[in-house]
């Protein structure tokens, strides 16, 4: 038995021809190349037609996941508009939970945070989906409770803090604020400030045990709890939004190592007491329950963080994946008890029924367990899609039928262990690659780099084309402009262009933008002066300098509200070391 034969068996065990209105099956089925635009549209329409608040939540989930997978089209846009209009709003947050006849916005039942971005992009029902009001309403709930919320209703002023857990309430509330910040970084800047300076600080003062991990409920209930698989994804997003800098970041890396790696399979998140589980266990000290979703989340997170780990931790991780008994063999083994050897199906926890939904979860876990990072690794965008779903965007594909795998790569060698013998390939540069395997999955027939990594997405390490220096050169350049006439903008909003699906009329791709704040010097033509070094010349309307990897087509908005389109990007380097990117900018005619 090989990993690929195990995957083949489980794929065959699932009836893919019907999605069963199961949006998790669709979500992971898209990664497995089983579903596409038509399935997402059909499911969104089905949910919108039902028109209950829970169905609108489901519709929002499927629409957002479609966009994340690069699946987009006019029919889906129609459904997104229906969801935006149909959803019941409690002032500016959606009702996604109800108890005792009262509606709430629930921190970990939402899965709809992307709808704020849709409303803005489509200019649909923006008065209700106002991210500026929404973050203030969410912040107020946190202020009143003194920590993150489980749910709140801003209309009635009702707030519930549940048990003040590190992930469920605090990280999820932080994540909601972070998402709202990203919808409008200029006007919602305080949402990031509150998430970082209050909620993240609180997590480190109350939930950090002072040594090596975040406790489940702080001192009220200590120990390692399974949401440690997802917690680092959110905090990594926070750090990226904060310019790849975050106080107490070292706590998170210590937590990951202590929780999953330092003790190998005896590490506390793989165990109940001293009993090995070989998958994520609910609570190390007090609850013996194996978690399928948590296990997938753990392997997404570990792959994402691999490039930041020290050598010993990297070795510990690869030993889990590729030891004498491999992670995938343990996952389908009797001890983990998540897999049924007869039906070839997985289940949610180590008791109860096996299901197609959780087989889809298990299949994606097996896909990731076949990839063993070496000097190279996976360059995974950090995005918690909803509660306990750390999502894989369209950089990922496992197409068993055509023996094709698509992955985002940090350059270096990576080992693949799907077949009876392993195969290692050395990737020469960062990027998204497609690999075609032979029939036995023991050779890689063909490798094709199919794209660059999108620098506007969040990662554990900022994407750049060159090794980055410290920013002294950039600061030196900035300082030259201080005190000169026409002092340049420094804090600039970047609208990173990304392309959705083909337009139904022209067949060109529909454009959209992601906003973020970056440091950039913009030197308009009228302010050209001696502060520009020899060799720099404003050839269009302005010249831009930044250390953030921008692309042509991106827009920059300076402090005065002027909008500039990036026409060219040229790295200023010495050898392979980046100083900054130099951009030719064209001013767009209408501000705002």
């Amino acid at each position: 038995m090989t990993l690929i034969s195990t995957i083949a068996d489980s794929i065959a065990a699932v009836t893919w021809t019907t999605a069963d209105h199961d949006y998790y099956k669709i979500l992971w089925g898209c990664v497995l190349n089983k579903y596409g635009l038509a399935d997402c549209v059909a499911e969104a329409k089905y949910r919108n037609d039902l028109a209950t608040y829970t169905d609108y939540v489901a519709a929002g989930f499927i629409e957002a996941q479609a966009q994340m997978r690069g699946i987009y089209g006019s029919a889906l846009t129609v459904e997104i508009r229906r969801t935006l209009v149909g959803m019941t709003m409690l002032y500016h947050v959606p009702k996604n939970y109800e108890t005792g006849g009262v509606g709430y916005f629930h921190a970990y039942r939402y899965g709809i945070q992307n709808l704020y971005g849709f409303a803005k992009t489509l200019n649909c029902n923006v008065a209700s989906w106002d991210s500026g009001f929404a973050w203030q309403e969410a912040k107020q709930a946190c202020v009143d409770l003194g920590h993150g919320f489980a749910r709140f209703n801003p209309v009635t002023g009702t707030e519930e803090g549940a048990s003040n857990r590190f992930y469920d309430e605090n990280a999820e509330s932080l994540h909601f604020l972070l998402r709202l910040y990203l919808v409008d970084p200029v006007n919602n800047a305080e949402a990031l400030t509150y998430a970082r300076d209050t909620l993240w600080t609180y997590l480190n003062s109350y939930h950090w045990n002072g040594t090596d991990h975040y406790d489940y409920q702080g001192p009220a209930w200590t120990g390692y709890e399974c949401e440690g698989s997802f917690f680092p994804i959110i905090i990594g997003e926070l750090r990226a939004a904060n310019g790849y800098s975050l106080t107490d970041w070292d706590h998170l890396l210590i937590d990951i190592k202590a929780r999953f790696l330092n003790g190998g399979w005896d590490s506390p998140q793989w165990t109940f007491g001293v009993t090995r589980c070989y998958c994520v266990n609910h609570h190390h000290d007090s609850t013996h329950q194996h978690r399928n979703a948590g296990t997938l989340g753990a392997w997404i997170m570990l792959h994402a963080y691999y490039q930041l780990l020290d050598a010993a931790s990297q070795t510990a991780m690869t030993t889990l994946l590729d030891g004498a008994t491999k992670a995938w063999e343990y996952l389908i083994g009797a001890t983990a008890a998540l897999y049924d050897g007869a039906s070839k199906m997985f289940r949610a926890v180590n008791s109860g029924a096996y299901s197609e939904q959780h087989t889809a979860y298990g299949l994606v876990t097996l896909f990731l367990m076949g990839i063993v990072p070496q000097t190279g690794s996976l360059y995974i965008p950090l995005k918690e899609f909803m509660y306990e779903v750390a999502c894989l965007n369209d950089y990922f594909l496992f197409d068993y039928t055509n023996r094709k795998v698509r992955i985002p790569v940090k350059a270096g060698s990576i080992k693949f262990i799907y077949g009876a013998s392993s195969v290692t390939y050395t990737f020469l540069s960062d990027g998204v690659y497609e690999l075609n395997f032979n029939a036995a999955w023991t050779f890689i027939d063909k490798v094709k780099k199919v794209g660059n990594l999108d620098s506007s997405l969040a990662y554990v390490e900022e994407v750049t084309e060159y090794p980055k220096t410290d920013d002294s050169q950039f600061k030196s350049l900035v300082s030259r402009f201080h005190g000169t006439r026409g002092r340049p903008s420094l804090s600039v909003t970047r609208h990173a262009l990304y392309l959705e699906g083909p337009d139904a009329v022209t067949d060109w791709y529909i454009k959209a933008y992601r906003e973020s704040m970056i440091d950039a010097v913009i030197v308009p033509k009228t302010s050209q002066n001696l502060a520009l070094n020899a060799g720099y010349f404003v050839s269009l309307d302005a010249l831009g300098f930044t250390q953030t990897l921008c692309r042509t087509g991106d827009l920059l908005v300076d402090g005065a509200g002027r909008r500039w389109e990036i026409k060219t990007v040229v790295p200023a380097t010495i050898g392979d070391t980046l100083y900054f990117y130099q951009c030719d900018l064209k001013e767009l005619p209408l501000n705002g």
């Binding site: 067949d507 791709y509 026409k567």
Partner: protein, 226 residues
């Protein structure tokens, strides 16, 4: 009155271009090579005394083995030293053995391309970089000129081909291939009179780290009145 298809020239042409064949088998510029490995190769090198081409000639091509332990595998050639008849390529799973047969080609699969109307309202090169497209055909708005009553119309359709440099093939080479295919497609287009194409522009636009290649042809033909 003219035939209905006149009003759908863009649609018809798009459908034809969507079937463009841009694989190496219609490649009129590159013949590639085939050979048999001599002794001394490894998993990252192939030696063949038959390789007498100029230094670095095969850089950027792909080598695919048809026999031996690497049969079916294809790798990018990174260097060629004609003095010692040696090719360096990305690593194969196994060492190349004496007698293993191979072919060298420029592109071994269908070029990834799209056919669209007009130009997008954003930086065009992002289509290539973000959407993994190798080539784009852009069909412009036809210009129609009336002929004497009862004869029909003279129709001119601008078609632009856009490319960038890709691993293994330059944007210029891709553009040449697409031009050849465009001529073939225009000749196969079934409606109206004999079609000819006129090249009206040929550009290379340097965008810093990317060069955007384009060429615009005008397909010209008569549409007859019915």
């Amino acid at each position: 009155m003219v035939d209905d298809a006149r009003y759908n020239t863009k649609v018809y042409l798009k459908a034809y271009l969507n079937n463009a064949n841009l694989t190496e088998d219609n490649d009129i510029y590159y013949s590639g090579a085939a050979g048999t490995a001599d002794a001394g190769g490894s998993n990252t090198t192939t030696i063949d005394t038959e390789r007498t081409e100029a230094m670095d000639y095969w850089n950027g091509y792909y080598i695919k083995y048809g026999s031996g332990p690497n049969a079916g595998c294809e790798r990018l050639i990174t260097d060629f030293d004609s003095a010692i008849d040696k090719l360096w390529h990305d690593a194969f799973p196994y060492a190349v053995a004496t007698g293993d047969t191979y072919v060298i080609s420029k592109i071994s699969t269908q070029v990834s391309f799209i056919v669209a109307y007009g130009n997008p309202d954003y930086a065009l090169e992002r289509v290539f970089i973000d959407k993994v497209v190798d080539l784009a055909f852009s069909i412009g708005t036809p210009d129609t000129e009336g002929l004497p009553v009862g004869i029909g119309y003279l129709e001119k359709v601008p078609i632009t081909i856009w490319t960038i440099d890709k691993t293994g093939i330059t944007g210029t080479e891709l553009r040449w291939k697409a031009e050849a295919e465009l001529r073939r497609v225009c000749e196969a287009y079934p409606l109206g009179s004999l079609r000819d194409t006129e090249k009206i522009s040929d550009n290379e636009k340097n965008l810093g780290s990317t060069i955007l290649y384009s060429v615009t042809h005008v397909m010209r033909y008569k549409r007859y009145a019915i």
